[in-house]
């Protein structure tokens, strides 16, 4: 940059470049990371973030053509998939990235849970994480409804039906979300708004809080890991992240080509398909709800969410009472096994 331009700019944007770049470098590049993180498990926190980035970019591109109205939504998705140049690829990446994001978050949670990364003083960040999981699943749910084909329409109907079961306020919330008695154009515009505006913004804020928490506490040390050595984020961990990004882009592109998301039949509110089912990450809940009464199921889900949210405190209490009990191993393993069992059961049986 020539001297004059620099001088002109510095007068108008008067920040101390040297100080800023030093601070930035300290914050972003020289972050001390415990040696334990030289392990691929520790890329699982960055993976959902990378995928979120993919979703934002492809999501913006999809909004160029997508029309959120009941009579045009399906056709606009068909147009994107069949006629827009590279449209099938963009849509494929968006859809597959959402699937992988859920998987990546689950894997990240497994790592944090079993290494007890949530323990004091990081309990609040675990809660932020749980909130992020909730927002992500809501994004997935609202995003799936955008396609407006038979499956997604009825999945949305059945999914939102559950809201009605929430005591006292259920019916009001349901009416507010659907914008009427049934899933309709009103629902679509609401969900579209949530999907591209409110929810991504909320997720972004939560991501920032999540990372700020990490930076404030530093990365948690593994229990039983004595090595005090650290290394800086740049270059090694930075390159890890770049490699993961490139791998994900390649992997998702391949998936988008080999198994592209289809279109299905256009939504028909008058014809209920023989089998209505949600996206696979809700299979476990959906399947369990078939075995128990709906009210009990909703109660169980709420209880599960509360326990999951406050698990760091619950775990602490359990440990104080029974110091030898490895409660998190048992509860974590049981949850995963049940989740996998019911997910696979739902696929095999139906």
């Amino acid at each position: 940059m020539s001297g004059k331009v620099k001088e002109w700019l510095m007068k108008r944007v008067p920040f101390n470049q040297e100080k800023t770049s030093k601070a930035m470098s300290k914050i972003f590049l020289e972050e001390p990371i415990p040696k334990q993180m030289k392990n691929w498990y520790y890329a699982l926190g960055a993976t959902p973030l990378i995928l979120f980035g993919f979703m934002v970019v492809t999501g913006i591109l999809l909004t160029f053509y997508y029309i959120p109205s009941s009579d045009k939504a399906y056709d606009s998705v068909r147009y994107i998939t069949e006629e827009v140049s590279m449209g099938h690829w963009i849509r494929g990446i968006h859809r597959w990235a959402s699937n992988l994001m859920v998987i990546a978050i689950i894997l990240h949670m497994v790592r944090v849970f079993f290494t007890r990364g949530y323990r004091k003083p990081r309990e609040l960040n675990w809660i932020v994480g749980i909130l992020m999981l909730g927002v992500t699943l809501t994004l997935c749910f609202t995003g799936y409804s955008m396609v407006y084909n038979q499956l997604s329409y009825w999945a949305t109907t059945v999914g939102t039906n559950m809201i009605k079961e929430i005591p006292l306020v259920g019916t009001t919330i349901l009416g507010f979300l659907r914008g009427g008695e049934e899933v309709s154009s009103n629902t679509l515009t609401r969900f579209f708004n949530l999907h591209i505006g409110f929810l991504p913004t909320l997720l972004f804020i939560l991501i920032v809080i999540h990372i700020v928490f990490i930076r404030m506490h530093g990365v948690s040390k593994l229990e039983g890991y004595e090595n005090e050595e650290t290394y800086s984020f740049y270059p090694e961990h930075f390159y890890h992240t770049i490699i993961v990004t490139l791998f994900l882009l390649t992997f998702i592109s391949a998936l988008a080509v080999i198994l592209p998301p289809g279109l299905g039949e256009p939504a028909d509110p008058n014809t209920t398909p023989a089998h209505v089912k949600p996206e696979w990450y809700f299979f476990a809940v959906y399947s369990i709800l078939k075995f128990i009464p709906l009210k009990a199921g909703i109660f169980l889900m709420i209880a599960f969410v509360i326990i999951a949210t406050f698990w760091p405190f619950i775990d602490d209490m359990l440990r104080k009472k029974w110091p030898k009990l490895k409660a998190h191993y048992m509860i974590g393993s049981l949850t995963i096994v049940l989740f996998l069992f019911f997910t696979v059961y739902e696929i095999i049986v139906y």
């Binding site: 689950i106 894997l107 497994v110 079993f114 007890r116 229990e223 089998h275 996206e279």
Partner: protein, 537 residues
């Protein structure tokens, strides 16, 4: 505490195992689900008694494909399952106990069963000519020529579409909607109609495929989805007609019908062309039926084109009758005079001089000139199959007539002898003629300057007019058709193109043709090879 409670090795092991397990299983789950979105395969509800049928059939390997077809059907989607169609009551003609259960099964679901849900379609079908097995009329005569076993999988197989069941219902729905998919798309596929409407006697599928309609269909076939509903007064969703589009499907003005006779104005499969009177009390007269067909034509064509095209086809139907009058007249005369004999046993005849008969040359000619050539001539004209109107049609009908005269002359008929000996070019038209000035596509300046009758008979168009008028007055043409014909007649120099002169343009082609002829004469006709022939005259 940490050492005991959460050792590093255990952490790694558990995180490792669950991460890999979750990663693999969940990606497979996601992939399976994604694949389902690509091919929207129906997930079918098989429960109750149906579950027993399906699992037992699969286990024993009996008609498994039928189950697969059903699974993809709209029936399966609507939870219409095995027992809904195959339930029988004790005493039903087709009831039998399933050997593996105590379930009473109906072997043949009939239109009566289909009518439980599709009453309108079944009733419409029963009112159509599809339901009338008119092959049985005069079948006693036919059966002397063809043995029964041969017709089982011949005539009978196709005419089973009008099967008369012991329960009194008529028809065979799966003749077009194949079991167990009962697909609309298959029923609309032209080849479905072509399963029967094919061959020398009624080659509608071949006529369709050689027509512009069929040609466009073939070029777009892969892009067409024929699985649409045409029930609700919606526009025709495809850009080219298949058979059902004109004969059955609805559009904005016509309701869909399973009565294929509702839009037909002629009985042109019959020995003589006549305006249909089939079910006039509910379907209206032939003009009403024709107007239904025209309503469909109008989805794509201009009214003027439709009028002229169909009028021309109608005149061809009428023309056929005049030729037939000559052919049948001759065979009848030969029979009456005893120059040909009828099949007879114990005072009962097994051949008919105007319909059937297979042991005399003139009977063959009379039969073929109707049942094969005569139908092709008329069907081709109605469905834009030029080659079937021409070479498989009128050419062969005329050939039958010529052979009839030759045969009659050999047997000693004096009129036929006179015909054979005559050198007058007009001898090939020993009958009254119909015609129309010009065609429906445009004006062809030169084609109407050559026909022999146009030039040799100054009163040609007067004679034609009298015939067309007579047809109108006898109810064989509508008033609109007569007016349309008269309009063309009044302005025939325009429609025939004779008032225009483009001789200079045509000369370019005659000059080129002269060069062709010269070349042919020089290089082919007049060519002499130097080598000596191996056999001398």
């Amino acid at each position: 505490m940490s050492e005991n409670n959460n050792s590093l090795a255990t952490q790694k092991l558990i995180v490792g195992i669950f991460s890999i397990l979750l990663l693999i299983i969940l990606i497979i789950v996601a992939a399976v689900e994604m694949k389902q979105t690509m091919v929207p395969e129906l997930i079918v509800d098989i429960s109750g008694e149906n579950k027993n049928c399906v699992s037992c059939h699969i286990e024993k390997g009996i008609a498994v494909k039928s189950i697969d077809l059903w699974k993809k059907s709209l029936h399966a989607e609507m939870s219409i399952s095995c027992v809904d169609c195959h339930t029988a009551k004790e005493g039903d003609f087709d009831a039998f106990f399933c050997p593996e259960s105590d379930f009473l099964v109906a072997r043949h679901p009939t239109p009566k069963d289909c009518a439980e849900c599709h009453e309108q379609q079944v009733n419409e079908f029963a009112d159509s000519k599809h339901a009338h097995q008119f092959w049985l009329i005069k079948n006693t005569d036919r059966s002397v020529f063809e043995n029964p076993i041969s017709t089982r999988h011949g005539c009978e197989q196709c005419h089973n579409i009008g099967n008369l069941w012991p329960d009194g219902s008529v028809g065979e729905c799966d003749a077009c909607h194949p079991k167990h998919s009962f697909s609309k798309a298959v029923a609309r596929q032209p080849e479905t109609c072509g399963e029967c409407h094919i061959g020398p006697d009624h080659p509608q599928i071949e006529i369709y495929l050689e027509s512009k309609h069929g040609n466009i269909f073939r070029s777009q076939e892969k892009k067409l989805d024929l699985n649409y509903s045409s029930k609700d007064g919606k526009p025709i969703p495809i850009d080219v007609p298949v058979c059902t589009t004109c004969h059955m499907d609805g559009n904005e003005t016509q309701p869909m019908t399973h009565n294929v006779s509702a839009r037909l104005a002629w009985e042109s499969q019959a020995a003589w062309s006549f305006r249909t009177v089939w079910l006039e009390e509910s379907l209206g007269n032939w003009e009403m039926k024709r107007s239904r067909m025209e309503s469909i034509c109008k989805s794509c064509h201009a009214p003027d084109f439709i009028q002229t095209y169909l009028l021309t086809a109608d005149l061809i139907n009428l023309q056929y009758n005049e030729i037939r009058r000559i052919i049948v007249g001759m065979n009848k005369k030969l029979t009456e005079k005893g120059m040909v004999s009828r099949l007879e046993k114990d005072g009962k005849f097994y051949s008919d001089p105007v319909l059937t008969g297979w042991d005399e040359e003139s009977e063959y000619l009379m039969y073929h000139a109707w049942h094969h050539e005569g139908r092709r001539f008329r069907f081709g004209a109605e469905m834009m199959g030029a080659d079937y109107t021409q070479w498989h049609g009128i050419w062969e009908v005329q050939d039958d007539m010529v052979n009839m005269f030759k045969f009659a002359a050999e047997r000693g008929d004096p009129e036929a002898k006179k015909w054979v000996q005559s050198n007058d070019p007009i001898k090939f038209a020993p009958y009254a003629l119909y015609d129309i000035p010009g065609n429906s596509w445009g004006i062809n300046v030169l084609s109407n300057t050559f026909p022999y009758v146009y030039n040799a008979y100054p009163d040609y168009w007067e004679r034609i007019k009298a015939n067309v008028k007579a047809a109108y007055e006898n109810g064989l043409l509508s008033e609109a058709q007569w007016l349309s014909w008269s309009k063309r007649y009044e302005n025939k120099e325009h429609y025939l193109g004779t008032k225009y002169n483009v001789d200079s343009v045509y000369k370019i082609y005659t000059d080129r043709d002269n060069l062709d002829t010269k070349s042919m004469n020089k290089k082919a006709v007049e060519l002499k090879l130097p080598g000596k022939p191996f056999w001398s005259w």
